[in-house]
């Protein structure tokens, strides 16, 4: 199970994308998310997917590791696709299929495919960020970007640290989940048969010990941090300095070019596909 969850798990390598400044990576990911939501045609998606493919190629991360990140939200993607396929409708359309309030129309097919592609691109793009950035670098990046909020006494460092610890604990909690499942199975629990309702119900004996364990771990981690002199952001120094370099400029230019391309396709190529 642990290997199936790519999201949040850093993949150690020394690639072009790994070496990018985390602030740049975060901003480029935000730009990429905006990009996939402003796309209005399939050619635009071709540009977005090409951009993602480029990022994966220059990340040194195995393609399957990025693709596997979709598994975590596959259910949501399918549900979103079905709902949009059956419920989206534009005026004056002739449906291919109609029953009660449900109908499949040319626009619903297009719209549901768009939504599915958006979600897939969103998760894969985010995975590239977490796979190529250590949680500490990510924390430093977020902290640096949110620095202006410190002026209004917003706990920027604490928020960034919480996110970093959450990412750090993903593999640990996955391991714990595996252990709990094995322990419950050994005591006769059945998670594979029955209808959807009984399957959801059968998750309770996994979730309760997992939550209890997470609280216990949080308590122990808090003590360990305190004993290692953690007192918040005050007077703290950083081992790794964030610096911008030529790679960051190249990456920004590539994403900017893709953005311009998508906008052009939106203006001139709405009806291409």
């Amino acid at each position: 199970m642990r290997n199936d969850v790519a999201f949040g798990q850093y993949y150690p390598a020394n690639s072009f994308v790994h070496k990018l400044d985390p602030r740049v990576k975060i901003l480029l990911l935000i730009a990429y998310i905006v990009l996939i939501f402003v796309i209005r045609n399939f050619l635009g998606f071709a540009v977005a997917i090409a951009l993602l493919a480029l990022a994966v190629a220059f990340s040194g991360v195995p393609v399957m590791k990025v693709v596997k990140s979709i598994r975590a939200i596959l259910f949501i993607i399918i549900i979103t696709f079905i709902i949009n396929l059956l419920l989206h409708r534009e005026e004056g359309e002739t449906p291919f299929f109609e029953w009660w309030i449900f109908a499949v129309t040319p626009s619903s097919i297009r719209f549901s495919l768009f939504m599915a592609l958006r979600l897939i691109s969103l998760v894969m793009g985010s995975s590239v960020l977490t796979l190529t950035t250590t949680p500490v670098r990510l924390t430093d990046g977020i902290e640096s970007l949110l620095y202006p909020l410190k002026l209004i006494k917003f706990p920027v460092h604490e928020l960034a640290l919480v996110m970093s610890i959450a990412l750090r604990f993903i593999p640990t909690l996955m391991e714990e989940t595996e252990r709990i499942i094995s322990a419950q199975k050994a005591r006769g629990a059945d998670f594979e048969s029955g209808n959807l309702f009984s399957r959801i119900k059968s998750l309770v004996p996994i979730l309760i010990p997992l939550i209890v364990s997470a609280f216990r771990r949080a308590d122990e981690l808090g003590e360990a941090m305190e004993s290692r002199c953690y007192t918040g952001s005050k007077n703290r120094t950083k081992y790794k300095k964030l610096t911008l370099g030529y790679r960051d400029a190249i990456a920004t230019l590539v994403v900017a070019a893709a953005f311009v391309g998508v906008i052009m396709l939106n203006i001139y190529g709405v009806n291409v596909i």
């Binding site: 391991e175 120094t237 950083k238």
Partner: protein, 277 residues
């Protein structure tokens, strides 16, 4: 020089519960290697947490190199001086990458980037974890993770190292790895080490052993004094180290080699016995 002085200290976790630590007094000299042993819930870990200033005693007081743990202003200095390694390495690592985790402590005390780098180098070398420097901590074995946890504490350059059942979740190889690191630190850094353990084999090399039961300190003595006191061992629920158990078995079969506490002692005495016969 006195490293730790615990003076008539008591503590309880809640009003309804009985005292977890009950009027304990002890002293640890700088450079000493001491062990705290006893059954579960005998107050060992509570005592360690009080020495580190994580919890304050209800009565009595503790000083660490002269700093009182009841003085809020001294806590930062105490935690810099006295590092504690807990039972589960997974629950004490803040960062995913080994070097980032080791850097956490020095970053907290505000030392320069160059100094952090030097401290990481020192801590990783001292614990033999240099090859894992850029590895994901989650991918390491239990023993390796615990050594990284020790490195994280060592990077603070503490004078005292407390291992709170730090080997209890490890297999024999992992335990041996961790204890080898401790032994090395004692020799090279002259560090004061306090080991809290259920494994009596980890106790035999100590200068002093504190035996606890029901929150009270039953006895302080050398390993020889402790393991020769059968009544105390029964009262505190302690076992003999493996070589001593073997010697006891031999004694029942008519071969008396005394009470060796280490493999080497047992081997030596057996050789002597064979030489005689």
């Amino acid at each position: 020089m006195q490293a730790v002085k615990v003076d008539k200290v008591s503590y309880k976790y809640s009003e309804k519960e009985k005292l977890a630590v009950d009027g304990v007094s002890l002293e640890i000299e700088a450079g000493e290697f001491v062990a705290v042993v006893g059954r579960n819930a005998s107050g060992k870990s509570t005592l360690a947490r009080m020495i580190n200033g994580l919890i304050a005693p209800l009565s009595g007081e503790i000083t660490v190199f002269g700093n009182n743990t009841l003085d809020e202003k001294s806590l930062f200095e105490i935690r810099k001086t006295c590092g504690i390694v807990f039972q589960n390495p997974d629950n004490q690592m803040v960062a995913s990458i080994v070097e980032d985790d080791v850097a956490f402590g020095p970053e907290n005390i505000g030392v320069s980037r160059e100094e952090i780098g030097k401290r990481i180098d020192f801590a990783l070398q001292a614990t033999g974890t240099e090859p894992f420097r850029t590895e994901m901590a989650s991918k390491l074995s239990g023993g390796q993770k615990q050594r990284v946890a020790i490195a994280g504490v060592l990077a603070l350059k503490p004078k005292i190292l407390i291992l709170d059942e730090s080997t209890s979740m490890l297999d024999p190889i992992g335990r041996a790895e961790v204890m080898a690191v401790v032994e090395n630190l004692r020799k090279t850094e002259n560090m004061t080490v306090m080991v809290i353990t259920h494994y009596m084999d980890e106790v035999v090399g100590c200068d002093k052993v504190f035996v606890m039961a029901d929150g009270k300190l039953l006895k302080t003595g050398t390993p020889e004094q402790i393991f020769n006191d059968k009544e105390l061992l029964d009262e505190a629920g302690l076992e003999l180290p493996v070589p001593a158990k073997i010697a006891e078995g031999l004694k029942r079969r008519g071969v008396d080699v005394g009470l060796p506490l280490t493999k080497e002692q047992l081997k030596e005495r057996l050789w002597k016995l064979f030489a005689k016969t």
